[in-house]
Amino acid sequence: MTDATLERLPVAKAPARRDIGLKRRYAAERRFRFYGLAAISVGLVFLAVMLLSIFGKGYTSFVQTSVLLPITFDQKVIDPQNKRDSDPNVLVKANYPVLAQRALAERLGISPTDKPQMAALKGFVSDGVRTQLRNMVVADPSLIGTTKDVWVLAGANIDSAFKGQIDLDVAEGNRKVSDKQVAWMNQLRDQGVMEGKFNTGLFTFGASSRPETAGVGVAIVGSFYMMLIVLVLALPIGVAASIYLEEFAPKNRLTDIIEVNINNLAAVPSIVFGLLGLAVFINFMGLPRSAALVGGLVLTLMTLPTIIIATRAALAAVPPSIRSAALGLGASKTQTVFHHVLPLATPGILTGTIIGLARALGETAPLLLIGMVAFVADYPTTPLDPSTALPVQIYMWANEAERAFVERMSGAIIILLVFLMAMNITAIVLRRRFERHW
């Protein structure tokens, strides 16, 4: 029926096509897409280059060359006069590296009387054996007089050579390991007593002038204390300030000025905050230098504007209809904010806070000014003790000349990046969870 009607009617004639610039428009669109893709590609290439270079240089720092030595805890070396019961200091002061050297000589079949050979052994094993063996003996004096197989760290140069980072084609005089040491190294490897083990020391050691016993342990603890202080101070202060400014404060000239100044604070270079911390917290208030407490306070000042801006944006994004609904039911202003507005703004607040924390975790400049760039070998027990921070540790290792420190630095960067990624993933996960809940 309809078909018949259609057939009977004459078909309208199409008017002449106008040129409405379709070709030009599509070309513009294609061009713009290309620009976008190009921009993203450039970014990705730089990211890939950065990650490749860091991981390429740094992954070896997670492996440390160790030697298995049959250490004889000789009483003649440790406690020749048998005074350890009356004077415990004897065990602390004993010459432990000699024990390791003798054990190594025995492994390699070198006579202890062969002076030149023994001299060449120097530096083969890390000087860190001093503390390692001392701690063993102090913890268990009954070891004296016995022989025990102990994994000890190889020296930094041997470690580099073992990992193949030293070019052995260079003339012997121009490189840090002698041909003899290379031969011993190969001999020990063939015996199966020298191998790369997972480097737990990188995570547990503090500062050290010897790369093989240097680690980020103290820096991690320092950074952890600072993050804790920033979280405990900046989050409540920032959220309270934002809620007041966004929901309660009258809109007048004074609040406008406060708002502008908060935005300006977010743009203040971090080194200025460092100077402020130096002047106020250390000089005026007399807080200890190099302490995580001062670092945390300075980073709190720096993070506050970020958190306030993010929180205010999150609060402003809550639809006004929710506020009207609660107020219309007779909820007070405070109930409206805490029962409805704040929970809805939580994902945004969390994201802002974690981004602020991540920025604070990577901040270096202000910490340099308050003395956190220091050689700290002992763990801080409280935030008032001297400590360093992860980025500062990276900065300090970057200043070292030895090849093995470059490796450590890249390793520390990897650790820092892993922490930052973990924080960002936490932010995403928390956000998802909260959004599903509401």
């Binding site: 809109k251 209809s321 009207s324 609904a325 609660a326 107020l327 219309g328 007779g330 909820a331 809805l344």
Partner: protein, 274 residues
Amino acid sequence: MNLMTDTKLQQALETSVDDKTDELIKMQGRKVTVHYGYKQALFDIDLDIRENQVTALIGPSGCGKSTFLRCLNRMNDTIAGAKVGGMITLDSENIYDPRIDVVELRARVGMVFQKPNPFPKSIFENVAYGPRIHGLARNKADLQAIVESSLKKAALWNEVKDRIHEPGTGLSGGQQQRLCIARAIAVSPEVILMDEPCSALDPIATAKVEELIDELKQNYTIVIVTHSMQQAARVSQRTAMFHLGYLVEEGPTEKMFTNPDDKRTQDYITGRFG
């Protein structure tokens, strides 16, 4: 006005005649003015709201009817720069008296908004929120009873009783609006203000809400702002016509729609302007 059928008109006339003997004034506005900053939005409004009746506020956009409605539970307080003058009473108490607590006032004068605005929580939590903050339920069973009866009064119970713990935002628009009405009822208000409650709904949902309003007037005093002449005619007993911030005239709905005193009312309801 030919929108009302003769039978409906007759019915409306009859009910209003019946009520006339025991009509009471619930709320009263005298010389109400509102300024938004330097702009005056309402000029000397004198209007009575009668108990257990539906009063419709009509008029073209921007005429001040929503502004007047928001004065009745002091929601204008929340708008920066809004200033209310004159006097509004609830049971002969001035609601702008400093001794009046605005939280208590809003518990007595509930509000339903133009766009359904359920909290992003479960249906149960939406309705339970008001009774909870006002301490109206002594225990959990009490609260459940309040929620159930409120949802029943809002004619929503049968549709949602199996999914009472699912989010209120997952309901259809009409259901959401009835949920908002249930939420307002749960606080046991005396007056319910409705700001164009059907403007975001389709005709079927609108019919349901209108039916509901008709039932609710037995227990509550209702003031409704509407753009729809038919709606005003269908649900209200009295109608007030606003124009440019002035109250043009007020009277029984059937009179307003058949024989208004003012020419502007006549022109507006016949669609000549607005």
